[in-house]
Each structure stands twice: as C-alpha cells, then as structure tokens.
C-alpha cells in the first residue's frame, strides 16, 4: 500500500552572485511514494541538481532557500535540526553523484572510505566491531556486483575503471539507503555499454530492496525502462508530470514535445530540429511562464502569468495555458 514518502512543495531557491540574485528554482513541487521510482528530466542548468541539493541540505554557501517545504515522512527536511538530519542521512536517504571520480576521495583507499561510512551508519547507535564493519563493507560491495571485494577494498580510486567506481559509489549509498535513493545522472560520465550495465544493476538493487528512487538525467532514453513517473524540468520549473509511457507517447507541454522531438532516432529520419534560443537569464527571468521566450505556442498571458499545473489525464499534468485557464 504505497504511501507518500517525500513531498516537495513550492520550493524556491536563489543564489546570491555579484550581478544580483539568481532566481533558480521557481516553485518546484514533486512527490515520491514508497517503492516508487521517479525521474526528473531536464537539460543542464535547469536546476534539477539544485533541487536535490536543497533537499539534502548541501547547497553552496551563497544559496538561499527562499520558500517552500520538503516533507519527508512528515518532517520538513529544510528545517530539520542538524542531529535529525544527520540521522536521516545515515539511515534513510542517500545520493549517488554524477561523476564517481569526483565523489571518491583520491587519497584514501576504497576500504577506508567505505568502512567510515559503515561505522557511522546504523540506527541504534551501538558501535560495531572492526570485524563487523569490514564484513558489512564486503557484503555491500558484493551486492553492487563488484568482483573480488577484498581487492577493491585495498585499492585506490584511480586504480579502478569508471564503471567500477560508480559501482563503489552505489555500494556506499546502499549502506545508508533504506528508503530513498537519489541518483544524479549516474551514467552520464560512463561509456554507453557500461552505463547500460550500471542502470540494470541499479534497477535490480532497487527492486530487491524496495527503495524509492529519484533519478535525474538529461538523457531521456536513460530513464525509460527505469522510472514510472517523470517530471520534466525547465529553467527551475516543473513543466510536466506524467507516467513514463504517457509522457513518451503523448507529451503535452510544448517544451517536452520539442525535447523529445530533438533526440535523433536510431531508425533514421534525419537530423531533428533543436529548440532555438537559450534558457532565460536567472537574474531576470520572465514574469510568466519561463519557457515563453522559446515557445512556438506562446500566448499573451504566458508572458505575464505563470501557468499552474493543469490536469490532462490521470496522473498527467502540465504547466501550460494550452490546457486550462487560470
């Protein structure tokens, strides 16, 4: 019986820079149920990583959370006390980053990094013996399909290939992920055949452990076959929300439509058209819909009013005035 695990509501995040205030996140709302796999697609600079970092409270020093809430099992992550937050990070939520090379400390062996994490995980606060810590580390490496865990424990990150490093990162996240796993473009820096393996591994692990997942990507094909619900994000705003199949077969928002159309097809068909223009400056974003400067269907009101999410079908919503009036 799925219940809501995480709900982000109207999240606003700004960055303070020399030129002024970058109003990046523009009221982002999303939700994840238990055992649900959710994807966020968006291109670079759309704010998807910012949204995740805001939730995990690892934003840069010049970031300001200007509004909104992220409630995780009832508690607001954004306002949680440090102790509670640490507890959640150690026992419940975990994150895999885009570049496994940057996520691992190059001067420590994998074993040292992994045992550190294991030692500080755990709910009861009882300390584990060295034996137990090591055993758990090996066990978690095995579940990430890593051959010869003992050898890997004894290696430095540079001695492993990209795919193996990412698997180590997955293993590390498994130590503390009991409920939610956030994967930020896990396959982007890997070769396509390795990425394929990693995604299959991730899928298997997630199914086995009944985890909820938020998968972020800019490659649309990568999320298909993995997530059941998709959010399309553009310039800090969620533009469309739909079940995966529905989004691919029937994209509603003009941005989502053009994004899907811009992917070259394996079956041929020539070079698709891109989307002309560039993302609006976050310093002075459009008053209304942020896609208005590039939208072929832009109307009068799109410039001055921000479209709310309109219902299109069951579980399918789009933030576009084509589908409703405010």
């Amino acid at each position: 019986m799925p219940e809501q695990l995480l709900e982000v509501k109207d999240l606003y995040v700004n960055y303070r820079v020399y030129e002024g205030l970058l109003k990046v996140l523009n009221g982002v709302s999303l939700s994840v149920d238990t055992r649900e796999k959710v994807g966020i697609i968006g291109e670079s600079g759309c704010g998807k990583t910012t949204a995740m970092k805001a939730m995990m409270r690892i934003l840069a020093a010049n970031a300001i959370v200007a509004g909104g809430a992220a409630s995780y099992r009832g508690a607001n992550l954004l306002q949680l006390a440090q102790q509670e937050l640490t507890r959640l990070r150690r026992t419940s939520i975990s994150m895999i980053f885009q570049d496994p090379t940057a996520a691992l400390n190059p001067v420590f062996k994998i074993g040292e990094q992994l045992t550190d994490i294991v030692r500080h995980s755990g709910t009861s606060g009882k300390s584990l013996t060295d034996q137990e810590v090591k055993a758990r580390a090996v066990e978690v490496l095995k579940s990430a399909a890593l051959p010869e865990p003992a050898r890997i424990m004894d290696s430095y990150p540079f001695q492993l290939s990209g795919g193996m490093r990412q698997r180590v990162c997955i293993a590390m996240s498994l130590v503390s992920a009991r409920d939610l796993l956030i994967a930020d473009e896990p396959g982007t820096s890997l070769d396509v055949t390795i990425e394929d393996q990693i995604m299959r591994l991730l899928k298997q692990i997630v199914e086995e452990r009944g985890l909820s997942v938020i998968l972020i990507s800019h490659a649309i094909g990568a999320v298909k076959g993995f997530v059941t619900k998709l959010y399309v994000m553009y310039a800090g705003t969620i533009m469309e929300e739909a079940p995966t199949e529905e989004l691919f077969s029937n994209p509603a928002h003009p941005y989502a439509q053009r994004l899907l159309a811009a992917v070259p097809k394996l079956t041929g068909g020539g070079i698709p058209e891109g989307i002309s223009g560039r993302i609006p400056s976050y310093l002075s974003p459009p008053e209304g819909c942020r896609f208005v400067t590039r939208c072929p269907n832009a109307m009068e009101q799109c410039w001055s009013h921000r479209p709310p999410m309109f219902q299109i079908a069951n579980g399918h919503r789009a933030a576009c005035f084509l589908y409703g009036v405010s």
Partner: protein
Amino acid sequence: MKTVASRPFLDYKKKWYKFSRNYLSVAGLVVVGVVAFLAIFAFYVAPYPEHVEFYVNYSDALLSPSWVHILGTDQFGRDVLSRVFFGFRYSLMMAVVVLSLVVPPGVILGLVAGYYRGGRVDSVIMRTADIFLAVPPLVLALSICSVLTPSVFNAMMAVSLMWWPWYTRLVYSISSSLRNEAFVQAAEIAGASPFHIAFREILPNCLGPILTKMTLDAGWVILIGASLSFVGLGAQPPTPDLGTMVSDGAKLLPDQWWVSMFPAMTIVLIILGFNLLGDGIRDMFAAESV
C-alpha cells in the same frame, strides 16, 4: 556593423566585489595602503625627519612613549616613530626591487620550461631551479651577504638570487598542465608560434596565482630583509631599517622595550597586511561557481 566597446580583462567592479566580500582582505589592503603612504610621504609625515640620519641628542635619549615622542626615543635620542616611517621605505623598496628583479625572469623561465615540457630545456631549467631551491633561503642569503660588503643593495641581490625559482616552479606547474589543454592544441593546429602560445594563451591563465604570490612574497621578502639587517648583513647604521632597529634595541630589553618592540611589531603588521591582501587577491581571481 556596430563597433563594440571593449570590456577590459580586469573587470574592476566585479573584481572589487569578489575582493571586498572578505573584510579581512580589505583590512589587509588598508594596512598595506597606510604603510605605503607613510613610506612615500615619510619626509612630510614624520614628526622628526632629521632624526633619521646622523643625529645625536643624549639629553633626549631613551624617553618612554609620550605625546612628544609617540613611540619613545632610542639610545641616541632619535624619535622611534619617525625612524619607523623611514624604515618602511627600506622595507617596501626591498619588496619592490626584489620582486621586479625576480618575477619577469622567473615567470619567463617557467613558461619556457612548461612549453617544452619533457625535453632538455625543461630539465635544464627546472633542475637549475631545484638547485637553488635546495638551499635554505636564509642560509643562502647569509652566505652571499657575508662574502660581499654588507649593504642594503647587496642584501637585495642576495634575496633576489634565491627567490626566482619559486616563480619558475609556480608558472611551470600551471604551464605544463595547460600545455595539453584543448585550447592550446587548437592554437597549435591553427599554426600559432610558440611565443604566441606561451605568452598570449598560457600566461593570461597564470596571472592570478602570480599576482597572489607576489603579494604574499612582499611580506616574506620584507621579513628576510629585516632578518639580514638584524644580523648586521643588510642595512648598516645609521640607516633606519626595521631589522637594524630591532637588533639595536634588543640590548635594551626589557627596560626600554619600546626601542625594539615597536619596530618588531610593525614588521609583524606589515607581513600580516600583505598576507591578508594576498588572500583577497586570490579571491579576486578565483573561478566562480554557482
């Protein structure tokens, strides 16, 4: 076809913003600014400029700090405050002269060694630099100075001789890592000459670290210069050098502490100022991230 106004490389307003975010850097700038001002206008600002050279007035000797002599007088009756101001002159002059002598050749050698990385040129330059770096700086300076006649000039030469390799190393590390970057390869493929690549492609990328190091080095050079004077190998009395003042006044500790302590404190202050300023300069050139 409109002509576009040129944006200078040093976008002053933005650089100032980055610099001024840290109030300590601004404090460093103020300290260095005040010291420089006092040094340049010492003649006009010092209450007793005539005390700087030969002056003896035993009736005023060793007066403790008062409104007449703010930092007191030394054993010859000379006003400590005025001498300190003139001492700043020698210190700053040392920094300016040494860095002017050291930075251009050091940077050029580093660029050349980095450009021809892996070859004979690289080895020759860097091993020579290594030899100079292997000797402890103060020891090298001391040995040079003790062979030559002690003077401010010779002290500056000695310090310069051991300082250049640091710049070579710094620029070498940046230059050799940028050597294989795509934009350098693109310039090579376009047919640019090695001179162009070294000076117009690579050098601009080194400016930040070079300027930061120069600022921090100013403090170090001043300290080394003062150390040389302290042991008698730099400026000679009656030249009001901060180091000589400290050593002269050392015999009078702890009773007439002001003769030695005030010059010593100003040395600390100057170095601190340059360090804080250097931090700020580093921030100015730091890459931004959002």
